[in-house]
């Protein structure tokens, strides 16, 4: 995507989240261009998960809002928002049943059928060809997380919100999931917001970094600018 094709896809405006009088996020503002790959990077407890949950509107901001392609997300039906901004959480939380059942969940919630061919293509995309009829309880951690990714992709999201997608995995599974994420974002040119506290992962997956500390953005720039060489 050339620079001229890019436009502001997500813009957070003074996003604030207060729990029991304590500000977990304090008036966060930033803009993300379509197709951009941004890492939300920072120590544990900085508010990274909170931010991504707010963007998906799984929690309600105390004040502030998010604009998605110029539209205030409070004016959008939450289900539409969540389909457009596909979230992948740290734990796969797959639904009991087969891998294919899981992939069909999002589309069928909207009354759409996901064809067998589409399922096959999604599974190939996450390097799990032939896994359609596997029971999810019998998958390895890395496989489960890739099914989780495919399940979100089945919704055809315009952006991916990934919250520490590899932090619950061992080294081998982590590498395999990371590779899958990279191939997906390279192929689909989807806008991507990745939460992580793994600096090496930021360098491998992102082009821009928002560094978080104590609920605030303390640095925003390219990977080189924020993390150095």
């Amino acid at each position: 995507m050339t620079e001229s094709e890019r436009h502001t896809f997500i813009r957070a405006e003074n996003l604030t989240y207060v729990v029991e009088g304590q500000a977990i996020l304090s008036a966060i503002s930033f803009a993300i261009q379509s197709g951009e790959r941004v890492a939300i990077f920072g120590p544990s407890g900085a508010g990274k998960s909170t931010l991504i949950r707010l963007i998906n509107r799984l929690d309600e901001p105390t004040s502030g809002t998010v604009w998605v392609e110029g539209e205030d997300y409070r004016q959008m039906p939450p289900r539409v928002l969540r389909q457009r901004l596909g979230m992948v959480m740290q734990h796969p939380n797959l639904f009991p049943g087969t891998v294919a059942d899981n992939l069909r969940y999002g589309p069928s919630a909207r009354g759409e059928a996901l064809s067998d061919q589409a399922i096959r293509a999604l599974l190939e995309g996450v390097d799990l060809a032939g896994f359609e009829d596997r029971q999810v309880g019998k998958l390895s951690g890395g496989e489960a997380q890739r099914v989780n990714l495919a399940r979100t992709l089945a919704n055809k999201p315009e952006a991916l919100l990934l919250d520490e997608p590899t932090s619950a995995l061992d080294q081998a599974a982590k590498a395999e999931v990371e590779e899958t994420i990279l191939s997906v974002i390279n192929h689909q040119k989807v806008t991507c917001i990745l939460v992580t506290h793994d600096e090496a992962q930021v360098r491998r997956l992102a082009e821009r970094v928002l560094r978080f500390e104590e609920g605030q953005i303390v640095a925003d720039g390219t990977v080189l600018e924020v993390l150095g060489a």
């Binding site: 509107r57 939450p78 969540r82 919630a109």
Partner: protein, 264 residues
Amino acid sequence: MLSRWIEHQVWLGAAQAGVTMVAALVVVWLTGRLKLGMKKEILISLGRGVVQIVLVGFLLTVIFSADMWIAVPVILVMIAAGSVMTIQRVRDIPNALKISALGITAGAGLVITLMTFLGVIKQDLTSIIPIGSMMVYGAMNTNALMMERFRSELTAHAGQIEAGLALGASPEQVVSPYTRRAVTAALTPNINGLRSLGIVWIPGAMAGMVLTGENPAYAGFYQFVVSGSIFVTAVITVLVSIILLRKQVFSPAEQLLLRAEDGQ
């Protein structure tokens, strides 16, 4: 044996209760010896039990001499008390009391009214009040089971519920496996009760009628009326309650309001 010495029925009852109490106290003494550590709890429960039920007995003698419409406030009081007891373990759900009261009122209110006007329940305080109380009691137990189960299913599966929401599913869709489980679990004792009716136990209404010398065959039919009505009441109560309950655990923006137990 007691009746040979005591003529007035109430005093006879008191003496019978006294004998029962002595038996219970012997058992309490035994639990103390066995160091079961529940002596105090049992004593309190025994004390409460005897005082409450005897007071109610006296109260009923007064109520039964009043106009039939007194049944309405009496049953409403039962519903209120039942609603309070229902929610003891689900206080963290917003509006639990209101929901439980609405559910029990819908179930018990509808069934009692209908059965009374159709004449299935005798239009007589001595029928309406005890049978009404059985329905309220059944609705209360079923609803308590349902609400507790629903809450524990939600907190245990908060991750999957939020995963479902994040995939664009509606709150109704994401909780449907858990509403189903909660309703099934709550109704199971009731269904088991219907199945074992008469075989494993002779329930209160029939036992009472047989004790007071009614035709046992009629008592059998009538017991089914009571048990069937309790079942219908329970089903209406849990269905109304769960529909209302489901709304409480989500915000208007379709966010899960209950937090996961494991913090995920």
